[in-house]
Symmetry: C2
DNA sequence: TTGATAACTGTTATGGTATAACATATCAAT
DNA sequence: ATTGATATGTTATACCATAACAGTTATCAA
């Protein structure tokens, strides 16, 4: 729930950290953080919000890194698969992971007014859902949890 | 996780019950279960699976109930808003509610192999996520929880 | 180095999902 | 009967996503 706002310097750090973490992880795992993949991760970290694939593609196009949808979707697929970004189903959009490196099953708080998104911990698999699945013989591989509502800022504006 | 299969008679009952429940609820709440809305609910109950809006629209078109996308989307919006159906974000699809009338925040078990969907109880709002939201000052209005994995049937086939 | 293999990129084409906007019709209550 | 709210019909368009195939680059073993 931390807002980046105008803290430019810290934000620069957080972008660098995110990219470096991805770099290290990829080197370790024998994955290739190619220019386009790296740039898409940077974009997501810079913007610090959920972005549509086409919005990202527009930026890539301006920078000469690709102009067709698959370029963006492939980079995003890579980032999501390796935990550097998450897909927000409700928004058909993507966001940089707030806790790169950690193995986690995130939940998201999505503001219906300003579309801001916060990453929160989730334990869907462990709770009542996991129990229901086990009873039913359903084998859960992954979960996603998204909550819609009002962020603190938009909440105040209404009140 | 119950399968409807060939139990035609019981299934007929379950469709009727679903429609009747919606009927009663609408009468009570001053809502209008118009022919198209009623028919879309019937279709979802009959098929007992997640269906895309365009798939539903095809049926409506054959029956002379409408031919353009908004017809289907409006009916679905009505059904979802009033709890007679749920939207499955992961599949961009819709399914009849398995527990009409009851106030509930459902979770879904989605088979990645056969796309079957089961409705399960969820308590996302009450668990760790709710706590995190409260701490952050985020006001949750609704949640959705979807688990991807293998249903019992597909699990067996793999094994 | 070279050749084989796997991974990645570029591009075209297409398919699937969803909604804005506006005109018309119907309903429900006075 | 009139009015205001709700629902429908329709056109047009926007947005989201991927299949398929050709070409390129990285990696590694021989």
């Amino acid at each position: 729930m931390t807002t980046i706002g105008f803290e430019t310097h810290n934000h620069r750090d957080c972008i660098d950290k995110g990219v470096q973490a991805a770099d290290a992880f990829c080197k370790d795992a024998g994955l290739r953080l190619t220019p386009t993949r790296r740039r898409v991760l940077e974009i997501l970290l810079e913007q610090h919000r959920a972005m549509g694939a086409y919005e990202i593609l527009d930026i890539l196009r301006d920078e000469g890194l690709g102009s067709q949808p698959p370029v963006a979707y492939r980079a995003l697929e890579f980032l999501v698969q390796n935990g550097f970004a998450h897909r927000i189903e409700r928004l058909n959009a993507f966001i940089a992971c707030a806790h790169p490196g950690q193995d986690h099953a995130p939940a998201f708080l999505i503001c219906r007014s300003c579309d801001s998104v916060a990453e929160a911990p989730s334990e869907a698999k462990k709770g009542r859902l996991g129990k229901a699945a086990r009873t039913a013989g359903f084998h859960i591989e992954s979960t996603f949890v998204e909550a819609i509502g009002l962020c603190p800022k938009c909440n105040d504006e209404v009140a």
